[in-house]
Subunit: 160 residues, 2 copies
Protein backbone atom coordinates (compact mmCIF):
# COMPACT_ATOMS: atom_id res chain seq x y z
CA UNK A 1 0.00 0.00 0.00
CA UNK A 2 1.48 3.29 -1.02
CA UNK A 3 1.45 6.35 1.14
CA UNK A 4 0.93 9.52 -0.85
CA UNK A 5 1.11 13.09 0.37
CA UNK A 6 -2.01 15.17 0.08
CA UNK A 7 -1.68 18.40 -1.87
CA UNK A 8 -2.05 20.29 1.41
CA UNK A 9 0.88 18.44 2.91
CA UNK A 10 2.94 19.06 -0.18
CA UNK A 11 2.18 22.76 -0.09
CA UNK A 12 2.99 22.93 3.62
CA UNK A 13 6.32 21.30 2.88
CA UNK A 14 6.95 23.45 -0.17
CA UNK A 15 6.50 26.62 1.86
CA UNK A 16 8.34 25.85 5.06
CA UNK A 17 9.38 28.73 7.31
CA UNK A 18 13.00 28.46 8.45
CA UNK A 19 15.71 30.64 9.98
CA UNK A 20 17.64 32.97 7.72
CA UNK A 21 20.88 31.42 6.49
CA UNK A 22 23.95 33.36 5.45
CA UNK A 23 23.63 31.96 1.91
CA UNK A 24 20.15 33.50 1.53
CA UNK A 25 21.73 36.74 0.34
CA UNK A 26 22.28 35.21 -3.09
CA UNK A 27 18.75 33.81 -3.12
CA UNK A 28 17.17 37.25 -3.31
CA UNK A 29 16.71 38.07 0.38
CA UNK A 30 17.84 41.68 -0.01
CA UNK A 31 15.77 42.18 -3.17
CA UNK A 32 12.72 40.95 -1.24
CA UNK A 33 13.37 43.50 1.54
CA UNK A 34 13.46 46.18 -1.15
CA UNK A 35 9.76 45.51 -1.70
CA UNK A 36 9.21 46.64 1.89
CA UNK A 37 11.30 49.77 2.21
CA UNK A 38 14.57 51.45 1.39
CA UNK A 39 17.34 48.90 1.22
CA UNK A 40 20.19 49.56 -1.18
CA UNK A 41 22.38 46.71 -2.24
CA UNK A 42 24.41 45.44 0.71
CA UNK A 43 28.02 44.28 0.30
CA UNK A 44 28.75 40.66 1.19
CA UNK A 45 30.96 41.87 4.04
CA UNK A 46 28.27 44.13 5.51
CA UNK A 47 25.67 41.37 5.15
CA UNK A 48 27.84 38.75 6.82
CA UNK A 49 28.73 41.12 9.67
CA UNK A 50 25.08 41.97 10.36
CA UNK A 51 24.13 38.29 10.06
CA UNK A 52 26.70 37.40 12.74
CA UNK A 53 25.60 40.27 14.98
CA UNK A 54 22.01 39.06 14.87
CA UNK A 55 23.07 35.42 15.32
CA UNK A 56 24.80 36.37 18.60
CA UNK A 57 21.36 36.88 20.12
CA UNK A 58 20.31 33.32 19.27
CA UNK A 59 16.61 32.72 19.78
CA UNK A 60 16.16 36.26 21.13
CA UNK A 61 16.31 37.68 17.59
CA UNK A 62 14.96 35.36 14.94
CA UNK A 63 14.89 36.35 11.28
CA UNK A 64 12.90 33.86 9.22
CA UNK A 65 12.38 33.21 5.54
CA UNK A 66 10.40 31.05 3.16
CA UNK A 67 12.31 29.73 0.18
CA UNK A 68 10.53 28.70 -2.99
CA UNK A 69 12.06 25.30 -3.65
CA UNK A 70 11.29 25.46 -7.36
CA UNK A 71 12.98 28.78 -8.03
CA UNK A 72 15.42 28.73 -5.12
CA UNK A 73 14.36 32.28 -4.27
CA UNK A 74 13.41 33.77 -0.91
CA UNK A 75 9.73 34.73 -1.20
CA UNK A 76 8.80 35.75 2.35
CA UNK A 77 10.53 37.04 5.46
CA UNK A 78 9.74 38.33 8.92
CA UNK A 79 11.54 38.73 12.23
CA UNK A 80 10.83 38.71 15.94
CA UNK A 81 12.94 40.32 18.63
CA UNK A 82 12.41 39.14 22.21
CA UNK A 83 12.51 41.92 24.80
CA UNK A 84 13.20 41.01 28.44
CA UNK A 85 11.31 43.23 30.83
CA UNK A 86 10.82 43.68 34.55
CA UNK A 87 7.12 44.49 34.25
CA UNK A 88 4.60 41.68 34.16
CA UNK A 89 6.70 39.76 36.66
CA UNK A 90 9.86 39.75 34.56
CA UNK A 91 7.80 39.15 31.43
CA UNK A 92 8.96 39.03 27.83
CA UNK A 93 7.48 40.67 24.74
CA UNK A 94 7.99 39.70 21.12
CA UNK A 95 8.42 42.54 18.61
CA UNK A 96 7.49 41.45 15.09
CA UNK A 97 9.28 43.44 12.40
CA UNK A 98 9.96 43.56 8.67
CA UNK A 99 7.32 41.16 7.39
CA UNK A 100 7.19 41.00 3.60
CA UNK A 101 5.85 38.52 1.08
CA UNK A 102 6.98 38.63 -2.56
CA UNK A 103 4.37 40.63 -4.42
CA UNK A 104 4.44 38.03 -7.22
CA UNK A 105 3.21 35.30 -4.87
CA UNK A 106 -0.51 35.39 -4.22
CA UNK A 107 -3.02 33.14 -2.51
CA UNK A 108 -0.52 30.97 -0.66
CA UNK A 109 -1.17 32.53 2.76
CA UNK A 110 2.53 33.01 3.24
CA UNK A 111 2.05 36.16 5.32
CA UNK A 112 -0.25 34.37 7.70
CA UNK A 113 2.09 31.41 7.88
CA UNK A 114 5.03 33.68 8.67
CA UNK A 115 3.11 35.55 11.41
CA UNK A 116 1.98 32.24 12.90
CA UNK A 117 5.56 31.00 12.99
CA UNK A 118 6.87 34.18 14.63
CA UNK A 119 4.04 34.15 17.20
CA UNK A 120 4.70 30.48 18.00
CA UNK A 121 8.36 31.29 18.54
CA UNK A 122 7.54 34.21 20.86
CA UNK A 123 5.14 32.04 22.83
CA UNK A 124 7.73 29.25 23.12
CA UNK A 125 10.23 31.84 24.39
CA UNK A 126 7.82 32.70 27.21
CA UNK A 127 6.43 35.99 25.89
CA UNK A 128 3.09 37.12 27.28
CA UNK A 129 2.33 39.04 24.08
CA UNK A 130 3.65 39.96 20.66
CA UNK A 131 3.32 43.42 19.19
CA UNK A 132 3.85 44.97 15.78
CA UNK A 133 3.17 48.23 13.99
CA UNK A 134 1.33 48.38 10.70
CA UNK A 135 -0.39 50.80 8.36
CA UNK A 136 -4.18 51.09 8.40
CA UNK A 137 -4.23 49.06 5.15
CA UNK A 138 -2.88 46.03 6.99
CA UNK A 139 -5.05 46.13 10.12
CA UNK A 140 -7.61 43.68 8.70
CA UNK A 141 -4.89 41.19 7.78
CA UNK A 142 -3.41 41.24 11.28
CA UNK A 143 -6.85 40.95 12.84
CA UNK A 144 -7.28 37.72 10.87
CA UNK A 145 -3.97 36.62 12.42
CA UNK A 146 -5.40 37.13 15.92
CA UNK A 147 -4.12 40.66 16.64
CA UNK A 148 -6.09 43.60 17.98
CA UNK A 149 -5.56 47.33 17.65
CA UNK A 150 -3.92 48.76 20.71
CA UNK A 151 -1.92 51.99 20.78
CA UNK A 152 -0.43 54.65 18.54
CA UNK A 153 3.06 54.24 17.13
CA UNK A 154 5.22 57.36 17.36
CA UNK A 155 8.51 57.81 15.54
CA UNK A 156 11.48 60.14 15.78
CA UNK A 157 13.73 60.08 12.70
CA UNK A 158 17.31 61.21 13.19
CA UNK A 159 19.35 63.34 10.89
CA UNK A 160 16.84 63.90 8.15
CA UNK B 1 36.17 84.96 42.25
CA UNK B 2 33.85 82.16 43.24
CA UNK B 3 32.13 79.89 40.77
CA UNK B 4 28.61 79.06 41.82
CA UNK B 5 26.19 76.66 40.18
CA UNK B 6 23.02 78.12 38.80
CA UNK B 7 19.79 76.56 40.05
CA UNK B 8 19.31 75.02 36.61
CA UNK B 9 22.68 73.31 36.83
CA UNK B 10 21.89 72.08 40.30
CA UNK B 11 18.57 70.66 39.16
CA UNK B 12 20.19 69.02 36.15
CA UNK B 13 22.65 67.38 38.52
CA UNK B 14 19.96 66.46 41.02
CA UNK B 15 17.98 64.62 38.34
CA UNK B 16 20.65 62.80 36.44
CA UNK B 17 19.66 59.89 34.19
CA UNK B 18 21.85 56.84 34.73
CA UNK B 19 21.82 53.12 33.95
CA UNK B 20 19.80 50.83 36.18
CA UNK B 21 21.95 49.30 38.93
CA UNK B 22 21.22 46.01 40.65
CA UNK B 23 20.81 47.84 43.97
CA UNK B 24 17.93 49.92 42.55
CA UNK B 25 15.49 47.19 43.49
CA UNK B 26 15.58 48.35 47.11
CA UNK B 27 15.23 51.97 46.02
CA UNK B 28 11.69 51.46 44.78
CA UNK B 29 12.32 50.57 41.13
CA UNK B 30 9.69 47.80 41.09
CA UNK B 31 7.15 49.97 42.95
CA UNK B 32 7.67 52.65 40.29
CA UNK B 33 6.97 50.13 37.51
CA UNK B 34 3.74 49.25 39.30
CA UNK B 35 2.53 52.75 38.46
CA UNK B 36 2.80 51.76 34.78
CA UNK B 37 1.26 48.33 34.63
CA UNK B 38 0.92 44.94 36.27
CA UNK B 39 4.09 44.10 38.14
CA UNK B 40 3.78 41.98 41.27
CA UNK B 41 6.59 41.95 43.75
CA UNK B 42 9.66 40.30 42.24
CA UNK B 43 11.95 38.08 44.32
CA UNK B 44 15.56 39.19 44.67
CA UNK B 45 16.64 36.09 42.76
CA UNK B 46 14.27 36.75 39.83
CA UNK B 47 15.30 40.41 39.75
CA UNK B 48 19.01 39.64 39.75
CA UNK B 49 18.60 37.00 37.04
CA UNK B 50 16.66 39.36 34.76
CA UNK B 51 19.14 42.17 35.48
CA UNK B 52 22.01 39.93 34.37
CA UNK B 53 20.11 38.78 31.27
CA UNK B 54 19.56 42.37 30.20
CA UNK B 55 23.15 43.34 31.07
CA UNK B 56 24.42 40.68 28.66
CA UNK B 57 23.17 42.86 25.80
CA UNK B 58 25.29 45.79 26.96
CA UNK B 59 24.45 49.01 25.14
CA UNK B 60 21.91 47.17 22.96
CA UNK B 61 19.41 47.13 25.81
CA UNK B 62 19.66 50.07 28.16
CA UNK B 63 17.34 50.44 31.14
CA UNK B 64 17.71 53.87 32.73
CA UNK B 65 16.55 55.49 35.94
CA UNK B 66 16.52 58.80 37.74
CA UNK B 67 17.21 58.64 41.47
CA UNK B 68 16.01 61.36 43.79
CA UNK B 69 19.16 62.09 45.76
CA UNK B 70 17.22 63.48 48.71
CA UNK B 71 14.95 60.50 49.23
CA UNK B 72 17.19 57.85 47.64
CA UNK B 73 14.18 56.63 45.64
CA UNK B 74 13.92 55.84 41.93
CA UNK B 75 11.50 58.38 40.49
CA UNK B 76 11.69 57.78 36.73
CA UNK B 77 12.63 54.99 34.38
CA UNK B 78 12.63 54.13 30.70
CA UNK B 79 14.40 51.70 28.39
CA UNK B 80 15.60 51.44 24.84
CA UNK B 81 16.24 48.22 22.93
CA UNK B 82 18.43 48.45 19.82
CA UNK B 83 17.26 46.30 16.92
CA UNK B 84 19.75 45.38 14.20
CA UNK B 85 18.12 45.19 10.79
CA UNK B 86 19.04 44.48 7.19
CA UNK B 87 16.71 47.13 5.78
CA UNK B 88 17.91 50.71 5.51
CA UNK B 89 21.35 49.41 4.58
CA UNK B 90 21.84 47.36 7.71
CA UNK B 91 20.22 50.07 9.80
CA UNK B 92 19.36 50.03 13.47
CA UNK B 93 16.15 51.08 15.23
CA UNK B 94 15.70 52.01 18.88
CA UNK B 95 12.55 50.73 20.61
CA UNK B 96 11.64 52.88 23.62
CA UNK B 97 9.68 50.99 26.26
CA UNK B 98 8.35 51.23 29.80
CA UNK B 99 8.70 54.95 30.42
CA UNK B 100 7.26 56.01 33.77
CA UNK B 101 7.71 59.01 36.04
CA UNK B 102 6.63 58.87 39.68
CA UNK B 103 3.14 60.37 39.82
CA UNK B 104 4.17 62.34 42.94
CA UNK B 105 6.84 64.25 40.99
CA UNK B 106 5.45 67.06 38.88
CA UNK B 107 6.93 69.92 36.89
CA UNK B 108 10.49 68.62 36.75
CA UNK B 109 10.32 67.54 33.11
CA UNK B 110 11.68 64.14 34.06
CA UNK B 111 9.75 62.37 31.29
CA UNK B 112 11.20 64.65 28.67
CA UNK B 113 14.67 64.28 30.14
CA UNK B 114 14.36 60.49 30.10
CA UNK B 115 13.14 60.43 26.48
CA UNK B 116 15.96 62.78 25.47
CA UNK B 117 18.50 60.49 27.12
CA UNK B 118 17.11 57.35 25.45
CA UNK B 119 17.00 59.08 22.04
CA UNK B 120 20.58 60.32 22.44
CA UNK B 121 21.67 56.78 23.26
CA UNK B 122 19.87 55.35 20.20
CA UNK B 123 21.45 58.01 18.00
CA UNK B 124 24.91 57.31 19.43
CA UNK B 125 24.37 53.61 18.70
CA UNK B 126 23.78 54.46 15.04
CA UNK B 127 19.99 54.15 14.89
CA UNK B 128 18.23 55.95 12.04
CA UNK B 129 15.07 56.28 14.12
CA UNK B 130 13.49 55.50 17.47
CA UNK B 131 9.93 54.27 17.84
CA UNK B 132 7.52 53.81 20.71
CA UNK B 133 3.86 53.05 21.27
CA UNK B 134 1.65 55.22 23.42
CA UNK B 135 -1.98 55.88 24.25
CA UNK B 136 -3.77 58.80 22.61
CA UNK B 137 -3.45 60.68 25.93
CA UNK B 138 0.33 60.77 25.55
CA UNK B 139 0.60 61.75 21.88
CA UNK B 140 0.96 65.47 22.66
CA UNK B 141 3.76 64.79 25.15
CA UNK B 142 5.74 62.75 22.64
CA UNK B 143 5.16 65.34 19.94
CA UNK B 144 6.82 67.87 22.26
CA UNK B 145 9.73 65.40 22.47
CA UNK B 146 10.13 65.47 18.67
CA UNK B 147 8.07 62.40 17.75
CA UNK B 148 5.38 62.12 15.08
CA UNK B 149 2.42 59.78 14.72
CA UNK B 150 3.18 56.97 12.34
CA UNK B 151 1.41 53.63 12.35
CA UNK B 152 -1.02 51.50 14.32
CA UNK B 153 0.20 49.21 17.06
CA UNK B 154 -1.35 45.74 17.00
CA UNK B 155 -1.09 43.24 19.83
CA UNK B 156 -1.65 39.53 20.28
CA UNK B 157 -1.91 38.44 23.93
CA UNK B 158 -1.12 34.82 24.69
CA UNK B 159 -2.92 32.54 27.04
CA UNK B 160 -5.47 34.90 28.46
Amino acid sequence: METTKSSTEEEAFEFEVRKLEISDKRKGFVELLQQLTVCDSISDEAFDRRFEEVAEYGDDHLICVVEDRDSGRIIATGSVLIEKKFIRNCGKVGHIEDVVVDSNIRGKHLGRKMIGFLCDHARAMGCYKVILDCSSDNVAFYERCGFKRKEIQMVNYFGS
